[in-house]
Amino acid sequence: MKIINCPLNGPRNSSEFVHGGEVRQMPDPNNCTDKEWADYVFYSDNQIGVVTEWWLHAPSGYWFIAERHTGSDEILRTYDPSEIYTSRVEFKAKVEPSASEEVTV
């Protein structure tokens, strides 16, 4: 079985991990165009080469980042997300006028 090196838990069988998709910059959902949002949600480069991806070590619920080659399936590097994300990412939904009325009712 393929072995993935978890930055927190060490080398483990790949069956303990869940793929979480590419690390991407999220556009501001309140101000971006529909096309930008669609691109973020649905579209992908999907090329052969090294990609930077989120992975989850399921038994510990630990998310980390891996650099993996999509042709050879080789994992070049894994690291804690704090290397990229230094602060918590907040998600603030835009309050629609009608929605706020419903809340006050």
Binding site: D34, K35, A38, V41, F42, S44, G71
Partner: protein, 414 residues
């Protein structure tokens, strides 16, 4: 049955068929009206219908390997139309109808075998989904019924009705379900197309696409440059990579899908049986082998290596469905690349590049659509208008959030 087959049977001598083989390869011409990238089922079917219905024969099919050697040869040859949405059912039903007449049309046996396809429900939620699919199918003229465990037992006596402690509660019995020899489909189309003047160039890899002012003008290959009026891209498993050559970014992620086949045994299993809950489908080919398919690999990859854990879980589930299979030997196992879209429907029609037409996003549902894809893509190329049948599958649907969700209608959940 094709009459020539009957003639074969009654003939004393071994009948030698003239022009049995494809025309030998020639030099690439500097210009074609239509270049089709990809010599799989979809590509040669498009060429065939272009020549047959639209009289367009200045067509080159460029294939980097050999005819039907990619995912056409790697799928598990399931033909069905019991989908979830009206768009999907209409489209795939047309395909099933075309498949039924192909052997006669080609005068070449594609070994179409109408067996019926049985999908098993192990939960109430699955039964609800089946009810919806039954009604949608019937509405569009398909033959699909919801059947009870007793009927399932009669159809498939060898099935374990309590696999993995998940009792079979009901079945979606798709009478139109069928299988065919996937290679023969590609060969039949290729033969028909080349006989009408289409050129099939194998070992010809497209390495670049020339786009001038938003319009495609030609392609570069390992055998030189070719100019063309339009391009049809039909490269299942590499859609994003070829698309990128034309500067097109796609709503596709590519995953391997593994399958395997056992030694041949006497016929015992007529319908194609699948269990989405157990991520497994099983069918017996005309040669007696059992073909297994399952869910996709758990993460994207451009690699057809096989993995032990997926084999293990797939076989464990297959043995749950048919316990005696534990004694059978595997003969072959392989993987194909599936271009998955988020709504499990294809990406067909126009692209952001003028005269560059897409036949992509064929995930795990491409083989069954081969004839209708060829027909509609040919119509699109010939008329420049997107046929009604494939309008819902345009790539632009993702930009307007109008997906055609067929995720619930796969034979094995991916």
């Amino acid at each position: 049955m094709p009459f020539s087959l009957l003639k074969y049977g009654l003939n004393k001598d071994y009948p030698f068929e003239q022009n049995a083989d494809l025309p030998s390869p020639s030099a690439l011409k500097p210009h074609y009206d239509v270049v089709i990238i990809g010599g799989g089922g979809h590509g040669v079917a498009t060429a065939y219908y272009l020549a047959k219905y639209h009289g367009i024969t200045n067509v080159a099919v460029l294939e980097k390997g050999y005819l039907g050697g990619g995912n056409t040869a790697r799928n598990t040859a399931v033909i069905r139309s019991n989908y979830l949405t009206s768009e999907g059912v209409k489209f795939y039903s047309e395909s099933v109808k075309l498949f039924q007449g192909l052997s006669n049309e080609f005068d070449f046996n594609i070994m179409y075998s109408s067996r019926g396809q049985l999908t098993l429900a192990h939960t109430d939620a699955a039964i609800r989904g089946f009810r919806q699919r039954t009604e949608v199918n019937k509405h569009f003229g398909g033959k699909t019924e919801l059947i009870d465990p007793q009927q399932i037992r009669e159809l498939v006596p060898s099935l374990n009705m309590n696999p993995a402690d998940q009792p079979v509660l009901a079945g979606l019995w798709h009478i139109d379900g069928a299988t065919a020899r996937h290679d023969a489909v590609a060969w039949g189309y290729a033969k028909g197309a080349t006989q009408r003047g289409v050129e099939l160039h194998q070992l010809t890899e497209v390495t670049g696409v020339d786009v001038d002012k938003g319009k495609v003008t030609g392609v570069q290959t390992n055998r030189g440059k070719v100019s063309c009026g339009c391009v049809v891209q039909a490269v299942a498993g590499h859609s994003s990579i070829v698309g990128a050559m034309a500067g097109i970014r796609m709503p596709i992620t590519t995953y391997p899908l593994q399958a395997m086949v056992t030694q041949p045994v006497k016929p015992f299993l007529n319908p194609l049986v699948s269990s989405p809950a157990l991520h497994c489908y099983v069918q017996q080919t005309g040669r007696g082998e059992l073909v297994f398919g399952g869910g996709s690999d758990p993460y994207p990859l451009y690699n057809t290596r096989s993995t032990m854990e997926l084999k293990e879980s797939l076989l464990a589930h297959a043995v749950e469905l048919f316990p005696f299979m534990a004694n059978m030997r595997l003969m072959r196992q392989w993987a194909g690349l599936t271009d998955m879209t988020t709504d499990y429907s294809p990406v067909m029609g126009l692209s952001p590049v003028e005269n560059y037409y897409l036949d992509a996003g064929w995930g795990t549902w491409g083989f069954k659509a081969t004839p209708i894809c060829g027909k509609t893509m040919a119509e699109l190329v010939a008329t420049g208008k997107v046929p009604e049948l494939i309008k819902p599958f345009s790539m632009a649907r993702f930009d307007t959030f109008r997906q055609v969700n067929e995720m619930g209608a796969t034979a094995a959940s991916h």
